[in-house]
Point group: D4
């Protein structure tokens, strides 16, 4: 992530990965304040054994796209609705609208939990254990809705 | 893709995959016109050996999100600026803003080529040959810019 | 509705139907978390005697459109301004901009009460008693404005 | 519709109704240029045996909402992307965002064909023949996608 | 105005008129709940001696445009950011984007005070006393800025 | 108007005034290129006998608001969708969203004809002849719709 | 700045200049309430030795552009999200979208601190001392990120 | 600029600089395809004697902000409405909404000519000759408007 102020949002990515049994590391790398560190981090990632990079940023959010320009790993971008954002539109468009040749896998505004799940889905194509946990997770989603449905169902006239 | 009218855009995904040496199949599955086929397709994909699903749609674009709800594979969504779209905003938001638990890896409006590259990046985490081709592709991007730069550089006063 | 978090908004639809003497049932069916239940629910609705389906959802709101793809009943969509929504635009566009062939009767953002009234209007084309109650309701709207007008009217200079 | 310039779009509603065997009439009633005619038309519609009113308009599109204020029939609004519109946003919001108490069943921008289908769905709740035709129509949608799918399906690598 | 909930905003128009010595009356007339009263009010206004009509409304705000369709008096529209509005965009566009032939003099979102000043400016073209008060008002604006400037001016390094 | 490129749009204001029998003059006064001329023009207008000023501009459209800051006459602003505009949003918002104290009577994007009609409506509060012509004009609008209605009315099934 | 209500935002520009050792003055000059003072201020600025003008305003924000029309100095515009603004879009577009010939160097919504830094960057092209302080400031940004990184870095699984 | 496809727009910056007698160089440096070249270019610019950098890019336009992160020179950003842009909003927001600490002086969409003029204004704070040419340029703007005014001025009734 680009700033410690993004942590509250981005922690959900780590939590999702933990619950799905995928190892992760979290650090602050700012495209605009530590551009050289960003270059080094992104270029070294694949050789260090990283499989997916999740980058979250707000406003004119350049971190996900710049990281994607520096690695061949899949990069997931999380638009953060930061305090200086125009309702999140700047964060979304700065991450989503990448030029041809350099994709960023963008998730919903503040969608860090989904970024974690997506990273696990990517890892799962070569890790049957993670695939199994994702299938369990899908079942849990159904169960929770069934419980909500049980609680809510009403008739009236 | 949801309609043959999306083919012109979506063909670029197939072309990108071909150029990166990743096998693909292309079909029309409409969320709104063939919902049962969509359910069957998405649920069977992992067992058939599919590793990534790219889904493109326009307007109220439900195909990527619905496919994602029916599989644990990573799903890449391509917002298509179809003729009935409001400048593409509907396509983008219908695909990007998925609820917590069901991510779609969204790329830029009409960004099918990037969807193909992203799919290859995902495949590359367990396929060193594809990783190598992606590294070559990044070098080609640089070479093309160097050529453009050579052609363009000017001074004036 | 797709989640119990939509209940506060959607309850107004049930209340409107009750006040207009139209029978209703309320349940949670999630397009993204319980897609199979959604398919079953929508396909069985007409044969169970349902006349109109009201579906509310937020963000990338696929429930109304997916239900509409699975039934020939009129489907009313309520865009909900959920916590993960970009000011409601995603909810509105995901429900409104359905492709040709599969309409959703969309009401205003958080307009669940109007969804209930619209459902009663639809029922009223074959139910004279409901039509009479709707006419009474229109008179009440006028009376309330007359009372507000009586309270407010002022002159000044 | 409010102007003859909307005819090209609105004709699709009539065509959809014809194909589904539902009787229709088409006229020009302008909220802003013939407000008294609009009042008379809307107030008389139910007694004349009309079951659903489809109103299309562009820009600051007041026709659907004003008609809805004057009848207890269901009113379907078609936002038209007219020449004076700001990309259709004004048409959409003027029709969709009706206040509590007076719903308009809004369809997609220029979605007149869907307005016709929705009107038929409404009529179908008390007309089994129309319901049957709608079921046939849904099958045709599937068949067309199957044909497109047959034509398109490809594999590559 | 269309509802007593708009009063807090619209009172500023009356206050501005009072401070500029222009007589006014205030009433609630709802386009959607009392359409016949609106027709009667707007058609009778000129003969009753009204010179300008200020109409405020929110959401799908049809009151200003409908009143303008029923009178040849200048009509000033105030878009109100009501609770059901999408950030005010619906109110603004529903009032501003009137079709050719039926203008509404639109002021800023929640700009009721400016609506009062504009009404006084209109009246002033035939009332020298009001024109004089407007000139005084412009001087007061300057004086207030001069006072603020006096208080604020700073230098630093 | 601010530039000769706005002439095509703004000529419609002059044409409307001519057809309603109101005298007019047309000139180019640029807020950004001839600010001093703008100041002189606006400050002198009332004493020269001008009753209403219509100002059209595109992009960051400052002319209407700046003229309004320099006169107590009513100022009508026409947002022009110029070539450098972002779909007209900049023109609309720069003219409409004036601060408290300095109103601009804003009409629709490219709505110069309505600006002319609105100016005539303003003049009509003290000119019975113009008021009569406006009443005639309203009748013509109705007649044209009646003719269109006569031509269009259809029934089908 | 145009109003004392903008002070809270604009003070950050002064603070940034102070921290970078650049002399500044701050005053209130309103485009709409004191247009003549604005003309005088802008025209005299270069001869008084001013090198850069920072102008902040909200809503239909004309101050930066009008000042730019009256001087050949670089003018930095700060869009302020004032209480009467539509989510800041009006402020941004009124300042950014200047016509050809009259640029305004626009910074982010409420970005007064960046306006101060940009002004220092401009001054630095002829002031080596300021250039040196800017280089130090860039190092501080890196150090702060390094500290945040040190505090945050985590691993998990 | 980031791509040769931006040349048509960006050439206007060079032309403006030439007409104002300011030396320039033009090159292609892509944030996403040649990130290392971008780092080298931006870091070396001040020592090479560059005074201002103009960076133009479209879509998720990261070039201006990334260059600004790597230099203490003033950086002017030109949002380009490229073919893959969503009506230019992505380009504008990606450049404008920079985080605190790293400003980009943003000009209008496709406003490369203004970028050139702004660069000259910046240079002029230490170059009296360029300042004189800018004053002449301002006079020419007035003269052109006077000529247009002479051609256009009309009266009518």
């Amino acid at each position: 992530m680009g700033s410690i102020s993004d942590r509250k949002v981005m922690q959900e990515a780590a939590d999702a990965l933990t619950s799905l049994g995928v190892a992760w590391e979290m650090d602050i790398v700012s495209a605009h304040r530590t551009p050289e560190k960003m270059v080094d981090y992104a270029k070294a990632a694949r050789d260090r054994g990283v499989q997916v990079i999740i980058a979250g940023a707000g406003g004119a959010a350049h971190l996900p796209g710049m990281v994607a320009s520096l690695t061949t790993l899949p990069v997931i971008g999380v638009p953060v609705k930061s305090s200086n954002s125009i309702d999140g539109w700047d964060s979304v468009l700065s991450i989503l609208q990448m030029p041809s040749g350099v994709p960023v896998a963008t998730v919903a505004l503040n969608g860090a939990r989904n970024a974690g799940i997506l990273a696990a889905q990517i890892v799962s194509i070569a890790d049957a254990e993670v695939a199994r946990r994702l299938a369990d997770f899908k079942e849990e989603l159904k169960t929770k809705v069934a419980e909500m449905s049980h609680e809510l169902t009403q008739h009236g006239r």
